[in-house]
Symmetry: C2
Subunit: 489 residues, 2 copies
């Protein structure tokens, strides 16, 4: 147990006050372990500053003391990026939580912007936007606890990406405290500014390794009250891609969801979940495409657009059957099937889920190649495809029985081996092994193995520029220079 009376703790207390300091092990526990309880670290203390100035003072102090700093948001990540694990002997480090910085600073209707503290929980941003009839279109399951600073630091994905882009595209400006405590303010959020290098994008998705995001200006969007939904049975993944191209010609700006799912996945949903309605006479399609369109104005005939595009797909054979929802209930029934995937998989067995993205045009070839690799190496697993086709993001899943999984001597090593095999397939298509989940501590070796070496080297140099002492979330994202494992490709 660390000594709570060390000068460092006292200095931290002077900066953030009693309310902003946690040194009790029990109270610190939620900050030391990821939310699924898979990995636990340690730290000297948790500090919870209440202002950017306090963050800056903490960072200056940490710099002077050579202490690592581990930024902590809502702790909803999947890659252990928020687990504090020092790599410096005798320097356990400080967890920096932003939860007390939870003010919505400003809403600017004409500029379509909301400026917030980094600790604001996503759901509160949604509420504030809705109050002026706008939306902040970042949608994911953890909205009730994920904080905007963490969402920006991980460039979170979610269901809005196909229409609005990832979190990166929703950020108009950032306030950042650098490793030495300097504050970089970039909250003017101008639509146009051509005065030099745009630094903001380095910090978005940097997973806290370059600086602490303390505030953000966010782009708002209008609400989309007009909606249309369809469940389409397509002949093949290629037919789905062809249909996507046709939609992009005629309805590109309206695409809200374009999800491709294999029968193997929806079979499990039928097997394990309730209130599942399959509207096709032939049962579950071999390949399902679930489509949602949305628009800001009610005059746009989204059902008409959907029907016309599906009609031409039926004529050319790419579409085998299709159902367009003609009621809110039918729409809910369709998406209930899609949203039951996780529950079904948990009940069935242990799924090793991949987060590969390739170009949408390469999705069919990637699926075929992954099927081949999986069949050759893991014939005892069966495979499922849950694909955000509009983004080229394929959650390719190998499903193992509970019995088989229980028999494994080293489950984690086995999972990593399976993942590497599918990541290799993605790499053949210039794809990524982490489309939306990030790298964290979990995938640093995969990044070093699969990343373009020129890019990896530049990232190490950028890291060294902004964080020369490697104190910002050390161990996350990049392996320290000199310890990079040999590359396979």
């Amino acid at each position: 147990m660390p000594d709570t009376d060390t000068p460092l703790i006292e200095k931290l207390r002077e900066i953030v006050g009693e309310k902003g300091l946690i040194v009790d092990r029990g109270e610190m526990a939620p900050f030391l372990t990821d939310w699924r309880n898979r990995r636990t670290g340690d730290a000297l203390s948790v500090v919870l500053p209440s202002s950017t100035e306090e963050v800056a003072a903490v960072m200056k102090l940490a710099a002077a003391e050579g202490q690592p700093v581990f930024p902590s948001g809502g702790n909803t990540g999947l890659c252990y990026g928020a687990v504090p694990e020092t790599d410096k002997p005798g320097k356990l480090g400080i967890v920096l939580g932003l939860q007390r910085m939870n003010r919505i600073r400003e809403i600017d209707r004409a500029a379509n912007l909301m400026t917030v503290d980094a600790g604001v929980v996503l759901a509160n941003i949604h509420t504030a936007a809705a109050e002026i009839g706008r939306q902040f279109p970042l949608y994911l399951g953890s909205e009730g606890s994920a904080q905007i600073g963490g969402l920006i630091s991980t460039n979170a994905g979610g269901t809005g990406v196909v229409k609005y882009g990832p979190t990166r595209d929703l950020v108009a400006g950032l306030e950042i405290v650098l490793a030495d405590g300097t504050v970089l303010r970039d909250l003017a959020a101008l639509a146009k500014d051509n005065t030099g290098y745009l630094l903001r994008h380095l910090f978005i998705g940097a997973e806290g390794t370059l600086g602490i995001i303390t505030g953000a200006a966010l782009h708002l969007h209008p609400e989309m009250p007009n909606r249309a939904h369809a469940w389409v049975s397509v002949a093949s993944p290629q037919s789905a891609v062809d249909l996507l191209a046709a939609f992009q010609d005629r309805a590109g700006p309206y695409i809200e969801a374009f999800e491709l799912v294999s029968a193997s996945q929806f079979d499990l949903v039928v097997k394990h979940c309730e209130r599942i309605r399959i509207p096709f006479e032939g049962g579950i399609p071999a390949w399902s495409l679930m489509i949602e369109l949305s628009s800001v104005d009610s005059s746009t005939d989204l059902n008409g657009i959907l029907e016309a595009l599906l009609e031409s797909g039926l004529e050319n054979g790419g579409i085998l059957d299709a159902v367009v929802a003609n009621s809110e209930q039918q729409a809910q029934d369709i998406w209930h099937v899609r949203h039951s995937v996780s529950e079904a998989n948990k009940k069935e067995g242990v799924g090793v889920v991949h987060d590969v993205a390739v170009r949408t045009s390469d999705v069919p070839a990637f699926i075929a190649a992954a099927d081949e690799a999986a069949a050759a190496k893991y014939p005892h697993a069966f495979t499922e495809v849950v694909c955000h086709l509009g983004d080229g993001n394929v959650h390719y899943i190998l499903m193992f029985s509970h019995e088989f999984w229980a028999s494994l001597p080293d489950k984690e090593a086995y999972a990593l081996e399976v993942e590497a095999a599918i990541h290799d397939v993605g790499a053949r298509f210039h794809g990524t092994f982490s489309a939306e989940h990030g790298v964290g501590r979990k995938l640093t070796q995969e990044l070093a193995r699969l990343c373009n070496p020129v890019r990896y080297g530049l990232m190490q140099q950028v890291k060294a520029l902004f964080d020369p002492d490697n104190r910002m979330n050390p161990g996350v994202l990049l392996t320290p220079a000199g310890t990079t494992p040999p590359r396979h490709n």
Copy 2:
């Protein structure tokens, strides 16, 4: 005249061949002077590589010889960013033109991407996109000569920004040759990729100071055949901003243009230009707002949306009068007035045009403050406002008579003084002095004077990281470390 038989020239000839080398002073001339013939530099030679590999070899050679490299695109810039001026004694440097790299490498309909060489002229990209029923929505006057590499390096603006964002938002991937000749390939153009720092945005808008863009993956968009147009007389700039907010609620995704123009500007159009039709009984409005909406689908009732929004503006007094085009001819008449602005100004006198951007919500206060500053310091000028209100980009113009201008002993110094006065006003609103034109060699002192010092320092460090010998377009964008002038603010 340089000795064309120096070893360096011979080595360059070996790399790019006779067709790729210009050493004749006459042939070099267009590469040494900006297109308006205001500033002329010099160089050892012009090299025109035909492949990324040749560019890499040239860059390696330049690094070995310590020679500056001046990238050259279509030479359509306004800030002398493409004029070669060495700052290294005895090292005149090499102009690197990409015009022979003019292939469209690939069009991917499903992924909605076009991959091109950096030397492709913008108009050819437009044509290639139109051939598959798509558009590349970067629209500006110089499309017949501007090359995509230069447009990306300057993050060009244009008329599509309000709907599609600046060039930055249209770039999905880049191929870059770094200062030492290393090639960074980032053309996978994935919609999602969360594997570390996104480096691309450093090079976009860097004006050739960090590396040479040799290829790009570009986002395509669907064509927008459905259009509506209006010319609105608004009570004030604030009324225009209020109307913009209302449009963002109901029609945000459809806004294609939202232009605010003062009567002082359109008075000159009437005075100097032909075929000008003013559809208002009261003559030219004190403040004109010209609006265009567009959508991908014909079912969207754009005229109905326009009329409903204008109706509520008429009711609350923000709108004094409005005309919605009910024919293609009426639409053309409206935009002909807007597009006659440059011609009118040229005939009237000498206009000092500013490229300020502030938040849209700050535009009214900026205009009022600029009017005040102009009246106090330059009462002999009259002022005009031409504002891309949707972007917050105000081309605030001080118009001087030809007689007055002719009487000035140092015209350039006077123009810079006028500009600084208006830039200062923009800075009070956290605005930028260069919304879309860039910095080049013209505004380096303004950047050093007005840029946030933390950001400026980081930019210098980023420059030093990618270009440690300061050989990439030296003198453009950043003043060399150590020569920064004292800051006024």
